[in-house]
Symmetry: C2
Amino acid sequence: MINLDLKITVNPELYNKNPDSSELGRKIITHSIELINEIGFEKFTFKKLSEKINSPESSVYRYFKNKHTLLIYLTSWYWSWTSYKIALTTLNIKSAEEKLRNTIDILTKPILIDNSFSYVNEVLLNKIIITESLKAYHSVDVDIENKKGYFKTYKDVVNRVSNLILEIKPNFEYAHMLVTTVIEGVQQQRYYSEHLPSLTDSKKNKDSISNFYTKLVFNFLEQ
Amino acid sequence: MINLDLKITVNPELYNKNPDSSELGRKIITHSIELINEIGFEKFTFKKLSEKINSPESSVYRYFKNKHTLLIYLTSWYWSWTSYKIALTTLNIKSAEEKLRNTIDILTKPILIDNSFSYVNEVLLNKIIITESLKAYHSVDVDIENKKGYFKTYKDVVNRVSNLILEIKPNFEYAHMLVTTVIEGVQQQRYYSEHLPSLTDSKKNKDSISNFYTKLVFNFLEQ
DNA sequence: CAAATATAATAGTAATACTATCATTTATGC
DNA sequence: GCATAAATGATAGTATTACTATTATATTTG
């Protein structure tokens, strides 16, 4: 696979020093993703991370202000990557409906393979998105952080998909709502199917989550 | 208004001592709800709460093991209350569709008045549900906590609504998914409309969130 | 009014979330 | 190849958090 890293950019305000710029920085990202998956975001600390990477805690702080900002960095990276995947899958396609279908596939189908083109394990990162990403923007500081552009890459994805919907149905008044409902719904259902199965119906069928949300979108648009 | 408190029950495993059983306990609930709203769940501590209620920190610990369990208690209370409201609104109604319509109204329309029948301010509690409740079940301990029945009242609501859907469309295979998509979608949109407006379309119209999710459900069922 | 129960007052501890300082490597420019 | 800068390591320290424990004082109840 080609090196997609070049395309993935994250708001520089999210870090003190760009983790992409050094060995240690990349180590911090790789092992953060692992450690957050292992022990959960609440129990994750820079102390524990620094022990895992055999570097002092203070070195981690040289890259990130705190674990909250690191989490926003990781989610930003994920949505920037997703945005890029959407761009690729819609490239050279004429039909608006086909573009939307491809995009919804990207948003709703599970991420099963680690492309391994870099220090980011996308499968594990996706698990963090499912389990922890809500915590990134559910904080008292959302408004300030939003002004700083911390959530831009997610907004870009939502806008991109909303625009595809508006291509199909120009006066549709719920484009953003429909898109965020699908994106976060998918994550929610994946979480439920693993931890609170009685809240979902997805065990029955492997692709049921993707099928459900695909139907949801096209049913609504056909109305 | 009649005293609805009698109907609202919360799993006793969620507290050390029932906060409903004493003046201090009720004070803890009332002021927790206020304080979490003021400073957010992350910055909320039992120390700060104890200062607010002029009681020692150790007294708070006599009621709740930790702030995480308190949050689950609060969300449990909320869903138990919601379940009761659904029961009331569907009582003596024959038409399955009307029952579902009423229920969806309860789930999607904003909670604007504080019934003030007790020490719980439902308007503020609803804000906590919108902003913080995801943190209640997105933790490493979900599976253990789920086994203990910590999330029962929420599951009851989801089941109740799913059953209404199945009354209308008996072989519908996505009942739970549709219900959780709506319930959490509503909360999500309310949060966005306040903090990340570009992710929603709800500013334009006061009732757009409720309208959108109502359409979503009935469009899907008519298919 | 005695006994039980609840609350208050106080202290203490390990872990968390940082900040600061200085020594040692490692990279880069001339 | 060496001086200089930049990055990292080693170490220390501090306020806050998340509790647990103990004893004294109220308050309730039988």
